[in-house]
């Protein structure tokens, strides 16, 4: 059995497996949904917050100087002159209000530090919140919420990896495809390795697309290391899914092994949340580590290792 024959067999089977995975509309939609949903929710949230922001600032007539009005309008606010500013704030029409002696602030709405700062300065308060464009830029740079969102999308892709791994072996064992492939004149390891590589390639491509889309819309600190960690997390999960289902079909139980696979993968991810050094060392958990260490490499080795184990099990009968 020469190597080129084995390689060609692996390439053909991988291509065929990719075709089978992507022809299923449900599978395809599953891979697009997480990032589509996240991006749409983020954009919709920004739009909602922008449009529903309470911009009113209610003051008594004595405080409504032209300079103050100008400052408030420059900060995106609307000056509301009223004899009873408290009532305006309580009615939800203004976020802040003052009569010079009392300052009312509605903390149940999204606060605008710029408006609060201006009104506090106008009444000569002992302190005021203060923000600058540069300062906000520094804070935006250190904001990790978008990275956290893509890390959780990576966890979802890892769960898909378990499903692809476990499902591909169990389904093909039951409908006879696996036996047909194993009886072909090629090494035993080609069949499981092709399934693992197909799952890795499909999940890796779609996760990379998810990362780049998030990076384009929200901005991520280390998009490429996230993409690599996520792709290898999916490949690890696919190997885990295949390993938990073993060489058997669904007649040996499917829900139990699949749940066990999901728990193992999410357990690895949770360990990364718990201890940063585990995130550096464990596959799947490495999704949470911004630096690429050995963990993704370990994850990539699990697929060939599983293929070797599978071949040994099948050879033993």
């Amino acid at each position: 059995m020469n190597a080129s024959r084995a390689f060609r067999g692996w390439a053909w089977l991988t291509g065929s497996m990719i075709q089978r995975l992507l022809r299923e509309g449900m599978v395809l939609r599953s891979m697009v949904l997480p990032v589509a949903l996240t991006v749409v929710v983020m954009v919709a949230t920004v739009a909602t917050v922008t449009w529903s922001r309470v911009r009113g600032v209610a003051v008594s007539p004595a405080l409504a100087t032209p300079e103050f009005r100008e400052d408030i309008e420059a900060a995106g606010g609307v000056l509301m002159v009223s004899d009873t500013p408290e009532a305006v704030v309580r009615a939800g029409d203004a976020a802040f209000g003052t009569d010079g002696a009392t300052f009312w602030a509605d903390r149940s709405v999204m606060p605008s530090q710029a408006l609060e700062g201006l009104i506090r300065r106008q009444i000569g308060a002992a302190w005021r919140p203060y923000e600058t464009h540069e300062r906000r830029a520094v804070l935006s740079k250190s904001d990790t919420s978008s990275t956290n969102a893509i890390q959780f999308i990576g966890a979802i892709f890892a769960m898909y990896g378990v499903v692809f791994g476990a499902g591909a072996v169990a389904r093909d064992r039951d409908d006879g495809t696996l036996d047909a492939e194993l009886s072909a004149a090629q090494p035993m390891w080609v069949t499981p390795l092709a399934r693992w590589s197909a799952a890795t390639l499909v999940l890796g491509l779609f996760f990379t697309m998810s990362v780049t889309m998030m990076h384009a819309v929200v901005g991520l600190e280390a998009p490429w290391s996230l993409a690599i960690s996520g792709a290898t997390a999916s490949s690890t999960a696919a190997a885990v899914g295949m390993a938990v289902i073993g060489v058997g079909g669904k007649t040996q139980g499917f829900a139990g092994p699949m749940s066990a696979g999901l728990v193992i993968v999410m357990g690895l991810f949770s360990l990364g949340l718990y201890e940063p050094w585990l995130a550096r060392s464990l596959p799947v958990a490495s999704l949470l580590d911004p630096n690429l260490g050995v963990a993704p490499l370990i994850g990539l080795l699990l697929g060939p290792l599983y293929a070797w184990w599978f071949a040994a099990r099948v050879a033993r009968g």
Binding site: E24, V27, R107, G124, A125, P129, L139, G219, L262
Partner: protein, 550 residues
């Protein structure tokens, strides 16, 4: 509906899952997940204001007296500046979301001004039994994927349907099996919590199995058409958490207005009731009723569609091409224009932080995914996206088109635009998305290749040349239609003259991008005339028959 048959189906489903060599694994995994949640003691309530307040800069004595204040350590998220009269008579505090303890201390400095903060009432959160219900329901993914799609793939569903069992009996039997299993496990874990004294018994125990019941019914409906366990499990994985989260959130928010309103939300009401959020029996009973009705609707709908399956067909024609054009347009615009949303929302600093090159990169990956997904659904994947061999004439023509494309730059001015900065910025971003200035030549080629394979490869074959040109203008140049239309016409003619091969069009655009540095600004009429002459030449050139790429 005959109960004996329903029970037989339920027993059959459970036997298939639990009798195999790994049959014991599911109860063990579920128990391992539920028991820690049930037996871990409740953490003692943390004293208020224990969270550290990290502050940089000088602080007034009122703030310095705070017991949990940490000064000048860690990143400077909050910085305080002392008064500098007459410009700044008061303290300035820089930082997002200032802790309440800090603002209270600062407010206490004011002797003349009284500060009144109007706050929402504190939120009430569900208890740990909610987590028990959620965990037990989330373990059903594999079971539901096996229940209908697995049987369909193993061809055991058809014999069952031809036996004297109605589709509704089959579906109800399967639902009963997994409701009993997951609901029973959740109730057991709930009872353990009660026995250990971590939660007092109440109506929530009755609501608990209904979380599993609704998850099983909804899950069966979701996977009713799936062809195998992979499709079934992925659809359940992607949709169930979303449904649970949305409905739970809806019930929680509406429950604020009135508990009965929250309880009326199917599944969400049951979840909140299982979490012991509301007092008394009325919300719990209403939650069970609404959830039971939703279960019944899902089961009837699943039984009705049991004979159907997801069609794996290659969609062609105008409809498919228009739909794909729409998806491509939204994806490309989102990638290129998405960062502008932050500036519109008042956070222009975030827009500035996002590198311009990230938009075309994301658009490229999205289009590659589309091309791959469309190609693999075709029996001739390469040919379906225009990857066929081109003749020598096509390559020469590509160079000619590549030389004309930079001349079209001035055609942008032929379409008048409003002078609003928003319009100008939008058009500039869309026009400047694919240029050599994006930094990497490989990325430029990648973006062009992905666009051409989708727009002039697949789209032209699926919906015709006219639709491909329209899609190209819509996706790439919606605010620069004259230039977009001329480019689309020229490249479309090149693809037709190349016998459907897309590679010459990719070359033409790469050459055009490279030459855009060299070609000086020309009058618009020159570009239009050159495009019309070359386009007409290509139109009347002999068409090369397509040859599949090796």
């Amino acid at each position: 509906m005959r109960l004996r048959r329903v029970l037989a189906i339920a027993e059959r489903d459970l036997r298939i899952e639990f009798s195999g060599r790994r049959g014991g694994m599911l109860p063990i995994v579920v128990a391992l997940m539920l028991l820690p949640v049930a037996v871990i003691p409740r953490p003692p309530p943390s004293p208020p204001n224990q969270k550290k307040i990290m502050v940089h800069g000088d602080v007034p004595p009122e703030v310095a007296a705070l017991p949990n204040l940490v000064r000048n350590v860690g990143p400077p998220r909050i910085t305080m500046f002392p008064p500098s009269p007459p410009e700044e008579p008061g303290w300035r505090v820089e930082g997002p979301l200032l802790p309440k303890a800090l603002t209270n201390a600062l407010d206490s400095m004011d002797t003349k001004i009284k500060v009144v903060n109007l706050e929402s009432p504190p939120w009430t959160l569900p208890e740990r039994s909610l987590l028990l219900g959620l965990l037990s329901a989330s373990m059903l993914t594999g079971a539901l994927a096996q229940s209908i799609p697995g049987e369909r793939a193993s061809r055991t569903l058809e014999p069952l349907r031809t036996a004297s069992v109605s589709p509704l009996e089959i579906v109800v039997g399967k639902w009963l099996a997994w409701t009993a299993f997951a609901g029973g496990m959740a109730m057991l874990a709930g009872l353990v919590t009660v026995l250990l004294g971590y939660q007092s018994p109440g109506p929530w125990l009755v609501a608990m199995p209904w979380v599993a019941a609704a998850t099983a019914a909804g899950g069966l409906w979701l996977v009713r058409r799936a062809n195998d366990v992979v499709a079934g499990a992925t659809v359940a994985l992607r949709t169930q958490p979303l449904l649970l989260a949305v409905l739970a959130l809806a019930a929680w928010v509406l429950g604020w207005v009135h508990p009965l309103l929250g309880a009326a939300v199917p599944l969400g009401g049951a979840l909140m009731a299982a979490g012991n959020l509301w007092e008394g029996w009325a919300p719990v009973l209403l939650a069970i009723l609404s959830t039971a009705l939703a279960c019944a609707a899902c089961l009837v709908a699943t039984a009705r569609d049991l004979g159907e399956r997801e069609q794996i067909h290659v969609r062609r024609g105008w409809g498919a091409a228009v739909a794909m054009g729409g998806v491509a347009a939204v994806t490309w615009w989102l990638a290129i224009l998405g960062p502008m949303v932050w500036a519109l929302g008042g956070a222009s600093e975030r827009t500035e932080l996002i590198p311009k090159v990230s938009g075309p990169t994301a658009g490229m990956f999205a289009m590659i995914c589309m091309v791959v997904a469309l190609a693999v659904r075709n029996s001739k994947p390469f040919e379906s996206v225009g990857l066929v061999r081109a003749s020598r004439f096509a390559w020469v023509a590509a160079l000619a088109v590549g030389l004309v494309l930079p001349l079209l730059a001035s055609a942008t001015d032929l379409w008048p635009m409003p002078a609003s900065p928003l319009w100008v910025d939008t058009r500039t971003r869309l026009i400047g998305a694919v240029t050599p200035q994006m930094g990497s030549p490989a990325l430029l080629v990648g973006v062009i290749a992905a666009q051409e394979l989708l727009l002039r490869g697949w789209m032209r074959r699926a919906g015709g040349g006219l639709l491909a040109a329209a899609a190209s203008v819509l996706v790439l140049a919606p605010l620069d239609p004259v230039r977009g239309l001329l480019e689309a016409g020229l490249l479309g003619a090149l693809v037709v003259a190349s016998g459907g091969a897309v590679l010459p069009a990719i070359l033409a655009r790469v050459v055009g991008s490279a030459m855009s540095h060299v070609v000086p600004g020309t009058p618009a009429w020159l570009g239009v005339a050159a495009a019309l002459i070359v386009g007409a030449g290509l139109w009347w050139a002999p068409t090369t028959p397509p040859t599949p790429a090796s």
